[in-house]
């Protein structure tokens, strides 16, 4: 199901380097699903966190500028993969749409840009898949169902809080529904909507490790085979750093982590190279091969 509404793709800083496994799998999948998109030619960092000060305007320039770029491309929707980017762009968009005074001040300040009045819609890929493809259609396009794969779907914070931008507001199980469409089996676990520690892994690494340990204990208790994520910071805190964090857990069992887009690409039967599984650590690749979701030997 292709629509002719123009769709801009906003990558975010991390997706071209450390999280190219999140990006390339996604873009391959979008093409395979027949969704036309256009990467923003010119974009800047969104700011990663939405400024929570009522009297602050300068920190809203970064996300609003990107919305202007999407409008300049003739798009009415901007899609993003990174949870943090999704959060900032959505909230900035809401601010512009709801606060006339702030909108005017921002537009007046950015004399070098055209005015922006909330013309673009911000969406996360999970929402896009639900709305433009639909779970049934997605299921019908799956070539390699992830049968038997028990997954812990980690929402984290920025996809679901505050309520004004929650992707699971209208569909409380959007992430789980996505994975069921791929044939996988989401397992419930208490930490699904808790925080991974976020930027504390830079500011207070010890406290961040404690937080991550709590999440990983919960995942372990659920019996999941794999952890599924949407955010490069969650992946860093729970995936990349897992080795040192497991030392804080008794009877710890390493658990492979994947971006939701990688599982999407695998289920759609796309070339594994798109997924850059080497960035996920050995356990991830091993799991996929052992279950024969991807060929054991290179094609």
């Amino acid at each position: 199901m292709i629509t002719d509404i123009k769709l801009s793709y906003y990558p975010g800083c991390t997706l071209k380097t450390k999280a190219r496994n999140l990006e390339e799998a996604a873009l391959g999948a979008l093409t395979a699903l027949g969704i036309e998109y256009q990467e923003l030619e010119r974009w800047n960092c969104c700011g990663a966190v939405f400024s929570l000060a009522d009297d602050d305007l300068i920190h809203h320039l970064a996300p609003v500028r990107n919305l202007i770029r999407a409008a300049q491309q003739g798009s009415d929707t901007i899609v993003t993969l990174c949870s943090q980017c999704y959060n900032v762009l959505s909230r900035a968009n809401q601010l512009v749409r709801e606060d006339e005074t702030k909108r005017k001040t921002l537009n007046d300040f950015m004399t070098e840009e055209p005015d922006y009045n909330g013309e673009v819609e911000v969406t996360h890929l999970l929402q896009l898949l639900r709305d433009r493809v639909g779970w049934e259609t997605l299921r019908s396009k799956v070539k390699r169902p992830l049968d038997g794969l028990k997954v812990a779907t980690f929402y984290g914070c920025t996809l679901i809080r505050p309520e004004s931008v929650a992707i699971n507001g209208p569909s409380p199980e959007i992430f789980e529904e996505f994975l069921r469409a791929l044939g996988a089996e989401p397992v419930p676990f208490s930490a699904a909507q808790e925080c991974c520690g976020s930027y504390q892994s830079v500011a207070n690494p010890d406290a961040a490790s404690d937080r991550a340990a709590k999440v990983l204990r919960s995942v372990q208790a659920s019996g999941a085979d794999a952890l599924v994520l949407s955010c490069p910071l969650c992946e860093y805190n729970l995936g990349t750093r897992q080795g040192e964090i497991l030392e804080r857990i008794e009877d710890a069992v390493p658990i492979p982590s994947f971006y939701f887009t990688q599982l999407l690409a695998v289920a759609l039967g796309l070339e594994p190279e798109l997924c850059h599984l080497e960035l996920n650590g050995e356990a991830a690749l091993k799991l996929l091969k052992a279950r024969e979701y991807i060929a054991a030997a290179p094609a």
Binding site: C13, K16, T17, R42, N44, C45, G47, I58, L61
Partner: protein, 249 residues
């Protein structure tokens, strides 16, 4: 009987240099106007040709709050201009050994973590006297696109104005310079012609020609220059000089 050249009266205008009012001819550049007013440049003056970045100037126009920037040697004065110079900006420059750095985004991020303080306010782009899209290259650097950063920052003359206005206290122009150095020296494929030329030079191919030139006196040099063989204006690509000793094979 000769024709006397008509005395052309140059209109004088008022400009404010560091807050003090001066009357200067309206046709002068800021740099010439400051010298006309009696200032002598021992800093903040370089090539006088718009490429060295020494004479960066910030100014206002009469009654207008907006801040403008320009190079003093290239910008003509306007009536009611209020100006001052920024001969140097003390932006932090990381210390590194070029030969030891890997040409990766991570290397740049490690040397300049302050890069991540950028809030995309665009003050840097707005102040740049060379119209470099500074925010665009900072964004490229944050996402690790060294090639794009090198390309976008190409016209940068290292004047430091961007850093002086930066909300995040980032030394944009130093980081861009590192990106260009890494791009040019370590990422971009080496041109085979350049490599061949350097080999020729090292092998001494041009030593005799240079020695000959160095032994000439002023008159001989002048003659050699005026009598040099020049490519005709409408020659096509097959034209060659009569002596091809100096050309690459």
């Amino acid at each position: 009987m000769g024709v006397l050249a008509e005395a052309v009266e140059t209109k004088m205008i008022s400009v404010y240099i560091m807050g003090k009012k001066y009357e200067v001819p309206e046709t002068l550049t800021i740099m010439k106007a400051m010298e006309y007013a009696g200032y002598q440049f021992i800093r903040g003056c370089g090539c006088r040709g718009g490429v060295c970045g020494a004479c960066s100037t910030v100014y206002r126009k009469e009654g207008d709050y907006k801040i403008y920037s320009g190079l003093a040697c290239q910008t003509v004065v306007e009536p009611g201009m209020h100006l001052t110079q920024l001969p140097f900006f003390p932006a932090l420059r990381a210390i590194y050994e070029y030969d030891r750095i890997e040409a990766t985004a991570e290397a740049i991020h490690q040397l300049y973590p302050e890069l991540f303080r950028c809030v995309a306010c665009n003050a840097c782009t707005k102040i740049c006297p060379m119209d470099v899209e500074v925010l665009d290259y900072v964004s490229a650097l944050k996402r690790g696109d060294i090639a794009a950063a090198a390309e976008i920052s190409f016209d940068c003359i290292q004047c430091g104005l961007c850093s002086s206005r930066c909300f995040g206290e980032i030394p944009q122009y130093h980081i861009a310079q590192l990106a260009r150095r890494l791009w040019g020296g370590k990422i971009k494929p080496a041109s085979p012609h350049l490599t061949a030329m350097v080999e020729d030079i090292d092998a001494g191919k041009y030593d005799d020609m240079l020695a000959k030139l160095l032994s000439m006196d002023a008159e001989q040099l002048k003659t050699a220059y005026t009598e040099r063989e020049m490519e005709p204006a409408m020659a096509d690509e097959t034209w060659k000089p009569s002596n091809t000793d100096g050309l690459l094979e």
